[in-house]
Amino acid sequence: MIYLLLIPGLFMGWSLGTNDAANAFGTAVATRVVKYRTAILIIAVFCILGAILGGAGNIDKVAELAESNRVTASLSETLAAIEDGSAEALRLRSALKGAIIFLCAGLTVFVMSYLKFPVSANQSITGAIIGWGLYHANYSDPEVLAVNLPQIGKFAATWVLNPLGAGIISFVLVWLFNRFLYARISSLGAYDKLVRAGYIIAGIFASYSIGINSSANVTALYYDTHFAETGVVSNLLGDARLTATLGGIAIAIGVLTFSKRVMMTVGSSIAEISQTDGFLVILAMSLTIVIMGKWMGIPVSTSQAVVGAVIGAGLTRGVRQVHFGVFRRIAIAWISSPTVAGLATYAIAALTAGYFA
């Protein structure tokens, strides 16, 4: 029965899939270079592959934030619970808290997807964790702040650095391609082959990156980071790879079932870009995720990266090519999704304080 608590996490993964799929093939589908059905199949397969092969690497980063915000149990709490025989109760409480947080973040992303805003599912989770922590963790305690502030600072910095970095990489890639390679394309057939191959290769890379970057986020709160030290599973899952794989599968199901709305927004509404720009945008997004993820040490938002990259590509043709009105709405959604998720978990934390204190 306790495994039913996985459902909100899987729902979160599904929501993330409905949103992040747009980032891998949005421009390809919108410009009719790749069929929607082909696109979602590629994303699903490579996202799961990314989750299996590299997703586990990101679990610790989310788990650290969760622990410092008292979502998951610390090592001392776990050891104490094992000693007094309440490990099973601790396991249930941890899983329940994870489920609440995933539910709040998942609902936020789902609503944003329904409104056709490409938002950051990763940051919704972060917002939800911090919302919980603001109630339960003592933020006036310098030790709690010392753990949380750098993490929060990093997440806030990515709001700016991530789309900015993607925009710069995209601008440079598109400019170089247009300046040095475009004139060498001989025929319509060669052009079409280049565009199709470019989209598929960039899309595979992007899907794999999403699998690595995001899969852990949608199930990490169920993962027991102290399992190796205690030998007792004090949360739902003790295996990092299995945790990430479950996340990857949930994302893939979201991609396969409900990703078209955001895909069309990302592909066609933000800036007028050409077919060749499209795959360079995806490539820029994937490179940004990899670079920023390594540099910042946290999972970054693919949605923010792709929007930045689309704008960067649009700017190679001039400022007028960018629909800043849409960008403004998306920027508001970026800030509001972690905020809304955080407020929701704060409210639930207050209502359930008696049980979780």
């Binding site: 009719r32 319509l188 057939g189 082959k193 720009d277």
Partner: protein, 217 residues
């Protein structure tokens, strides 16, 4: 079994269609030249008209072969663009056929003072068509450069303006003659048909330009 016939390539097929449309234009030119000579009998004109229709029919067949050749290698947008260009080229042959058949059926002869103008219009139109063939060829051989420099399309439009000027001049002179209004309107309709060919070529040039812009780097 698994390899594609070389002739099924869209570039080969579209070249074939253009050749057939060009042949139709050449036969239409012969028809107009014969029709401008008052001694030519309607029987002789009917034979020439049939040969224009035959050329139009051949161009139709090559259009269908071209559409069949647009397989999965090309993106849907490219296929759509090429189909639009090919069907527009087919309209050139259709206009020739309409003029030839209708003039025979209606026993129409262009009034003598305007025959030279009509032949001049067709001569300009044939020049436009040569430029159009070259532009379409460039789509398949050097699209990268063509996107950056498509002055040839401006040349096509410039020639169409010349045709427009001649057309306007014909109408002014035609409606100033002593002929009856019905005859004037009949002649004007045939003038319009010839000028429509030039318009059709200009429209294709516009389509090509749009095609280039959507693929612009």
């Amino acid at each position: 079994m698994f390899t594609r016939n070389r002739n099924d390539r869209p570039d080969i097929r579209i070249a074939e269609q253009l050749k057939d449309v060009d042949a139709c234009l050449v036969r239409f030119d012969s028809f107009l030249r014969a029709a401008s000579v008052s001694d030519t009998s309607f029987e002789a004109l009917r034979v020439l008209s049939d040969s224009v229709c035959e050329a139009e029919s051949t161009a139709d067949s090559s259009l269908r072969r071209l559409i069949d050749s647009l397989g999965g290698d090309l993106l849907p947008a490219t296929r759509q663009d090429l189909i639009e260009i090919a069907t527009s080229c087919d309209r050139i042959a259709n206009k020739c056929e309409t003029y030839a058949t209708q003039s025979v059926v209606q026993h129409f002869r262009m009034p003598e003072p305007f025959c030279e103008d009509i032949l001049q219009i067709l001569s300009i139109t044939k020049g436009q068509f040569v430029l159009l063939e070259k532009s379409i060829r460039m789509l398949f051989t050097e699209i990268g450069k063509f996107v950056k420099d498509h002055g040839i399309l401006d040349d096509i439009r410039r020639e169409e303006s010349r045709v427009d000027d001649i057309e306007k001049d014909i109408y002014e002179r035609l409606y100033a003659t002593d002929c009856g209004l019905a005859e004037k309107m009949q002649a004007a309709r045939f003038v319009e048909l010839v000028c429509d060919i030039s318009d059709a070529i200009e429209n294709i040039a516009d389509k090509i330009q749009i095609m280039l812009i959507t693929r612009k780097a």
